[in-house]
Amino acid sequence: MVSSQKALASTWEPAQSNGILRAGLLQRLMKNRTAIASLTLAGFIVLIALLVPLLPIQDPLLPDYDQIMQSPSSGHFLGTDLHGRDQLSRLLWASRTSLLVGIVATLMAVSAGIVIGGLAGYSGSIIDSLLMRFSDIFLSFPAILGAIAIMAILGPGRQNIFLAIALFTWPVFARLFRSTILSVKERTFVRAARVLGSSNMRIFIRHVMPNSAGPLVSYTAMAVAGAILAEAGLSFINLGVQRPNPSWGMMLAESMGQFEQAPWLILAPGTAVTLTALSFILLGTAVTNALDGKNAREYQ
């Protein structure tokens, strides 16, 4: 899950991105149908997740043992689960968990990547190779296996999921920032900025960040998808969010044996995870393609 995204990111090389963000990445994305579709879908899911508390839906935690495993009806649009809880409201509330984990874990990974990759690229020599060997160790772990181990040790809970996922995602970002710094460091405009007295911080924000922006956006989208799938997987094996808080992975696990009698209990959460991950993966792909002019034409 996380690793597949990692492997994919490493196979699709980010194209030369010299200030491409300013030179119309957005315009190019807007011409791309996949990009528009995925942005719309992702935006829609995020919007729902934000609005859930305001929606007129039932309590996702309230069991009703007179109404267990009811098929979809006007009272319960997606039926009820093994404890008679409303499936639709559980599904909607679970979107918050999923997106929160996806976004927070990825932000943690990006921040760690900026600090460690920045330090490695900036200082060079021994510190650089030490930090890179250190990141190799994390990359050498099958990510989902590492996350499972961490969760098994730390126990279920949201904070632990953030940590377990971010711990195996940051090296990708560290490498990205390091390689951008190395490629920018000796360029004339950075030397000029230095001569003019720019601080390291200013050079990082004004020159390094914009140059890594393109691949950063596509890696980030992929990492969010990876984290969402990882959370679903962890919750599926009972090592994710704490019960009874709903999570798509956990909803699937609870009704695993009920496919014959109540397929809606499996299909709804399964489709929800797939669509959410899909919107972010397509977004990442679209950005990668938009950065690479050749592909952008091919896929439009």
Partner: protein, 316 residues
């Protein structure tokens, strides 16, 4: 002897990575866990004497660096202690469950290799805009489906509805039982193989030696099969090595869905039962297998392609 040095260098790198991986697990286990590992593993109802006995058995009463040394020494000897739950040595339990996981991962690896290479070749020979967009969408969907959802869907259609294949279990090593779990495990990875295959093969097909072969009268497909393929397979082999880790990790979830008596499911039950030595042993063994196989693949790759070993070992 540059080749000998290359092997030595890769082996050294492997040892460093292995030590690092084991150290990370140690750090997380001993420094980040709130409370006492002995208390955690025995539960809250254990008597203080039992906790104290376990503490000294695990060496928890010694200084941290001594604990680390002991832990490392045991891990090197594949001694992961005794399972709390089953009261047997962890390594012997792991040896019982390992074959089923190797069988599943092997089956999935075979499927994804065949499917990924085939798909990649097909995309390279038939270049149409529609096919390429269709393949992009299909790949994205396969990458987005969680392995457990795909597994349940396959079970529903092929086992419950069509009754073509057994629904779960090892079935006494019956190859038919392997099909569905291997398929759901391989799906996402074969997409990645296909993408790599397509990119490298298309790149090779644009090189002068293909033009030379074509001008000698070879057909496009013949030139691809007997010349470009050989050079394009290198990166695919490397990705297959990385995939093995994903397969071993994903195997845990697949094994649960399909009631597969493998190492992943064992580790899962160990985690549920708070059987720390068994769980940690399972994870460490999976990680060791992954790292060792990746090193072997790198070395074999270096044997096949002199450019790798002459260019040094660092990836980036």
């Amino acid at each position: 002897m540059p080749f000998f040095r290359f092997i030595l260098y890769r082996l050294l790198q492997m040892v460093v990575v292995l030590l690092g991986a084991i150290t990370i697990l140690f750090v997380v286990l001993y420094l980040l866990v709130p409370g006492d590992a002995a208390q955690v593993s025995l539960g809250n109802h254990a008597s203080p004497e039992a906790v104290e006995a376990l503490r000294s058995h695990l060496g928890l009463d010694r200084p941290i660096w001594e604990q680390y040394g002991l832990y490392l020494w045991r891990a090197i000897h594949l001694d992961f202690g005794t399972s709390y739950d089953l009261n047997r040595s962890v390594s012997s339990i792991i040896a019982d469950y390992l074959p089923a996981t190797a069988y599943l991962a092997g089956g999935a690896l075979l499927l994804e290799t065949l499917f990924g290479i085939g798909w990649g070749m097909y995309l390279t020979t038939n270049r149409s805009l529609r096919l390429s967009s269709l393949s992009t969408i299909a790949s994205a969907i396969l990458l987005s489906v969680p392995v457990f959802f795909l597994g349940l869907l396959l079970q529903y259609f092929f086992a419950s509805k069509l009754k073509l294949l057994p629904i779960s279990g090892l079935g006494g090593w019956n190859p038919l039982n392997l099909v569905l779990p291997a398929l759901s495990l391989a799906a996402a990875q074969s997409v990645i193989i296909a993408a790599v295959m397509k990119t490298t093969l298309a790149e090779e097909m644009r090189k002068p030696y293909i033009l030379a072969a074509r001008s000698r009268g070879l057909s496009r497909s013949r030139a691809m099969r007997s010349h470009a393929m050989r050079n394009a397979l290198g990166p695919v082999v490397t990705i297959l090595g990385i995939d093995l880790g994903v397969l071993l990790g994903g195997a845990m979830i697949t094994e649960i869905v399909f009631s597969w008596p493998g190492l992943g499911r064992m580790t899962y039950y160990a985690a549920q039962a708070r059987d720390v030595p068994l769980m940690l042993g399972g994870v460490i063994v999976l990680v060791i297998i992954f790292i060792v196989i990746n090193t072997l693949i790198d070395i074999v790759y270096g044997l096949l392609d002199p450019r790798v070993r002459l260019g040094g070992g660092f990836g980036e």
